[in-house]
Symmetry: none
């Protein structure tokens, strides 16, 4: 999502700010993380920050997008690790479940955090959270769609329902595992989801083209 290698000097510092602010916002929340926290984390002074971002909210949005991109890359990589649709769905769930023990960034899932905090107070952030969650749904949906096209999954499977179920259950489980500092909740939920995914129906008839499509 971000090159970060080349780019002008200004863009590099901007990127550095985003990277160092992201965990702060994710842990402390939008209100809880102060601009001062960010000056301390980045080493820049107020003026330096405001040269790159017009407001705290603009920085928070950039940091949120960055946090999301980290998790999104992990999920995309997980998907690629499996050959078929069911495997990809399971890989997704398992990758997400690992975050209960080894979070890719401190503070839990940025989408959920933002959805909860920005609930009634911060429309800009909320919109980005919607976008990020939509991407998650689309990721699940595209796997199902490809699985159907590949003849692995029954076309009657409601991919929207599956996306809602996976995201809801995993987010809720992550929340609980963090609340109790115990990954057992996540494990139980993932077990259920994996069993459910494995039991997803194959096409009724004649669809034995296991890999004909695409």
């Amino acid at each position: 999502v971000s090159p970060a290698t080349l780019a002008s000097k200004g863009a590099r510092t901007r990127q550095r700010i985003v990277e160092q602010a992201a965990p702060l916002f994710n842990q402390l929340g939008y209100k809880g993380a102060s601009m001062r926290d960010i000056t301390e984390a980045t080493g820049l002074e107020k003026g330096g920050l405001y040269n790159h971002f017009g407001s705290k909210e603009a920085l928070a949005v950039a940091a949120f997008d960055h946090s999301v991109s980290i998790t999104a890359h992990r999920l995309a990589a997980a998907r690629e690790s499996a050959p078929d649709a069911r495997g990809q769905l399971i890989a997704l769930a398992r990758e997400f479940s690992h975050w209960a023990k080894r979070p890719p960034l401190p503070g839990g899932c940025p989408i959920m955090n933002t959805a909860i905090e920005a609930d009634d107070t911060n429309p800009e952030l909320l919109e980005h959270a919607r976008g990020a969650m939509n991407d998650l749904h689309r990721l699940v949906g595209s796997i199902v769609k490809a699985g159907v096209a590949a003849g692995e999954l029954d076309p009657e499977i409601d991919r929207y329902a599956l996306a809602s179920l996976l995201t809801s259950a995993l987010e809720g489980a992550l929340m609980q595992s963090r609340l109790f500092d115990d990954a057992v909740h996540m494990d139980r939920v993932v077990d259920h989801l994996v069993a459910y995914i494995e039991a997803l129906p194959a096409p009724k008839r004649r669809g034995r083209t296991r890999r004909s499509a695409q």
Copy 2:
């Protein structure tokens, strides 16, 4: 939980403060809700508030407990509305799902809100959130246990796993329905859960329990 009828004058104002502060904390969060917000909601001055609560956190804890008790009562009533274990579990899920459209208090689920916000910042609130979530788990667990005792459910059902699944999926679905302002996510998840509950295995054979169901 709320007598509100008798009690001394001080206890009544205290109760009034809690009731009027609860939705504020639930919507705006612990940091987002200011003591000034509460003075405006209650009509009391800061001095008046601090006669009843030694700190903002103490007030927030009381408000949280109040919010939880509201939701807990709803769930307890839902359970009582159904005769058998499966029915009670389904009633629980359906009651929870209604909150996506008609929340018993504004701002979503207080447990989730608190679990997310207090994550790294407010141990007292976090502890109460743990307690409330534990109660939820115990509620599910006690239904399953009773269902097993009544011969309705297979004793091999893992009631802890079921509790983790129900709470996680429902909390996650509520979060998403609020995020998108669309109850469809909740509906999809509840459909899954209801189907899963209905398919819970009955005891293998020879129900020697006093209430041989079905």
Copy 3:
């Protein structure tokens, strides 16, 4: 100064308040000691205190007078322990010097404390501090006067100067001993004062009426 034995019930609680407030004011100062501190020390509530004292300042004045009376009694007793003027002056200085190690009330000399703090802010308290300090001067003066009358001391001795010297040096030494938490400063000053007192001149001529007067 205070009977404290009989008296009506109201007067007794008033006395109790004063006794328990005195060390607080002496340690924390007029501004530093809050009415809440006093409610906690006395066990009474705000209303109870304000039944006996019209304001914080009125209570502080009463507490100051009480503190002073404690020290004054000690000095009066010390004076009575010695037969002649020089002995009484020395007894005075020694009694005062003991307070560096074993203060009769916590927080140091109430007169000095009040003189310093009330300097530009609290005329009522300041006036009482003046009165108390004046009493100290008069105590020294009366000893000298009696000593002259008894033929022990030269009438040309400036008793005002002696009073200023003793009080100044002792107060200053007490302050330093408290500052450094080391009574050595007081000891050194007292040594000087005792030597000076012992060297005070006897009447020039014919005054061998060691106890003729009075």
Copy 4:
């Protein structure tokens, strides 16, 4: 101690704050002087003040040090005005005594004020007060030491005792002169001290030091 000429802008405002806060703290005390008082005196807003000092206490410490440096310079100048040890000691006492009528800064001696108020409440300030008082003692001690080396004073003179006496008596006298708004107490004490200093013994005999005085 105060360049005030060059230095960066920040350092200049900081110095200005200190200079204008010092008399406030010295008159009103640490608790009595509010940050608002200082904003009014300096013309800066709270935000401006807190850019230079992390807390009220930090500002108070700087102000205290500034106040002490003012008095210390006066005493150092007084010492230099006299050629020999006795003269320097007397000059010290006389300079100090002038402060009863013409205080170099309003509110009396900052060391005594701080020693009294910070007694049980403010360890940081107390430590600085100890340091400042120690410097005073060392000043006296160094004069005596030089006087002994110059053959003016008997080596058996206890310079620690002399320092305790001078500082105690002068501080106490200043307190009383301020309490009664009457410099007579200071005058009497200084008279005693001057006489005592003049009577300090010279070396017994045979001054083999390079400067056989008197």
